[in-house]
Amino acid sequence: MKRFKILSVFLKNSALSLILLFLLMSAALLFTTQFVGLYRYQTYALDLFIQNGNDRMVIFSPSGLMDGDLAVASQKQEAFSQEVESLSGVQEVVSIYHINDSFYNNSAFSIYLYDKTLLDLFPLRYSGFQGFTSTGITEDGKLQVILSGDYFDGETVGEPMEMRVGGKNIEMLPVGKIKFPYITPRFSISGNGSTIPNYFSRNELPIALMTPETKKLLGENVTIYTNPSFLVYLEEDYTQQELEAVKEKLSEYGTSNTYQELIDKTNEPPVTNMENALLLPLAFSVVATIAFLSVSILSIYKKLDQSAILYLCGCSKRRSYLYLSGILAGVGLLAAALTAGYITLLPVLQHHEIISKNMLLLVDEKSLLLVGIYLLFLLLISFGVPWLMMRKYSPLESYRRMER
């Protein structure tokens, strides 16, 4: 109780500066979260690819659709991928498929169908994933799906749900969800100049396994389209000549990049979109940090007079320092709590479009670690500024200044 009363000596008449400090620190933390989140989003796909990919991968990107009619283009695409798969040195061609004629709660949603190899190669940010059966269908005939997107927040993993596909109701069983911000393989890019984020992007839809059983369940009335790009997975002991032959084959309809080539292209400067997107939050973060530092110095400087009075009354310099740094650190922790609330509520805020869904952030363990390090830096300022100020202006010097 005594300590709080003494703290009030420093806090009283300081509402404005404390609010300003809180706003600046919150701004610094929020902009840093923005920057880190954007950076992580941009590099998540790169990380996913680098960590899980290997030099047996070649990604194909067609120069355009193989036909004006989507269904015909899919068939040609499928035929072409089978030709590639038959080449020496090729273990498998991994494609992504999708269905368009599907509705959830009267809203149109595509359903993606992944080869099992794709899910094995690129483990995603799952929540409660129970795994697929080998057929992708439960024993009682439900289509197993992974749900991606906050539209499906009302569905529970393990509890059946329904979608209307090709004019008929299909019962489904969610076996897992993808965590925010719902980044999954897409392979819908065509044309040259592709980078890794083009192949892995935000998708809010159900994902099922591509098997003969799931195709049968979905029905003959449903058209399954093949996404334009695909991944060629080479045999373990492929030769250079086999690789060259695969690339030459792929060049008939588009371009191809090996694992390393795609990484290099993604890392090539200038990555204009990424730099432009990151520059603004980074600049705001730096400005807010400098402003916080300046206001901290001014606020502590103004409080040195009170510190001098307490010194006369028997308050040690150490105790004064703890009060002053405690105030700044307290502001910091409040700002951190606000930021934590923002991070927690971000999916909800985006779901209700209070914050735009175009703000592509990924706040995962890595980005939280980076934000945590930045928070420690701000707390270092909170403890460092009073220490430096009290070293420079001892209570006696503050008192002499008051005298003058």
């Binding site: 009283k12 001098a308 009075i309 307490l310 006369l312 028997g314 006696l396 005298e403």
Partner: protein, 224 residues
């Protein structure tokens, strides 16, 4: 033989000055018995305030020794020095050094927050001190609502609240008119008659006249 209340021996104090150093106190030898009322006089820059700050454990010194109430002060850490100030010394300064936006009662009770005084008795103790200086009816007012003389009385009440043995006053009447200055000095004299040792730094002859002993300083030395 009883040890003097304050004993300084060959105390030197230096301040850094560019690449050299300036000697603010030169070989100070000072003895003050308990219950004395001493005035330290001298022109501006003589080192009076520097000496007072050392007496009050607000500042350290470089050479020599200083014992206060039988305790060697040199080498005391920040915490012990603060406790010594809190328990033994009260300060009355020219600018009053009050927390302007807090109440008179809070200002008087401030030193009690840093000691072991029980919280439930603090208010009563502070009121007792305000009665002593005749300001018990001003307890709830903010410090900056009082006149200069009243504020200095509050400062004296605060200085006395921990029952210290020593009051150090640095130009306590510097900001006051002559009539109010007289009232303040009489109050200090009253405290002295109750057994409190009072050391006043001043360059005012009238203030000096209240003291029983005058110590004269010049250029960092005691000359008389």
């Amino acid at each position: 033989m009883k040890q003097p209340f304050i004993q300084m021996r060959e105390v030197n104090k230096f301040y850094p000055l560019d690449k050299d150093r300036f000697q603010a106190l030169k070989g100070i030898n000072l003895t003050i018995e308990e219950g004395e009322f001493v005035a330290i006089r001298g022109r501006s820059g003589a080192g009076k305030s520097t000496l007072l700050h050392i007496l009050g454990c607000l500042d350290g010194f470089d050479e020599g020794s200083y014992t206060l109430n039988g305790r060697e002060v040199k080498g005391l850490g920040d915490g012990k020095s603060a406790r010594l100030r809190n328990e033994t010394i009260g300060f009355v300064l020219q600018d009053f050094s009050l927390v302007d936006y807090r109440s008179v009662l809070f200002n008087v009770s401030l030193p009690l927050y840093f000691g072991k005084y029980p919280s439930r008795k603090m208010k009563a103790k502070a009121m007792e001190m305000l009665k002593l200086v005749g300001l018990e009816d001003q307890a709830k007012k903010k410090a900056n609502q009082l006149s200069g003389g009243q504020r200095q009385r509050v400062a004296i009440a605060r200085a006395m609240v921990t029952d210290p043995k020593l009051i150090l006053a640095d130009e306590p009447t510097g900001a006051l008119d002559s009539r109010t200055a007289g009232e303040i000095m009489e109050l200090l004299q009253t405290l002295n008659r109750r057994g409190v040792t009072v050391v006043v730094v001043t360059h005012d002859d009238v203030v000096e006249s209240y003291a029983r002993r005058v110590v004269t300083m010049s250029d960092g030395e005691i000359v008389d």
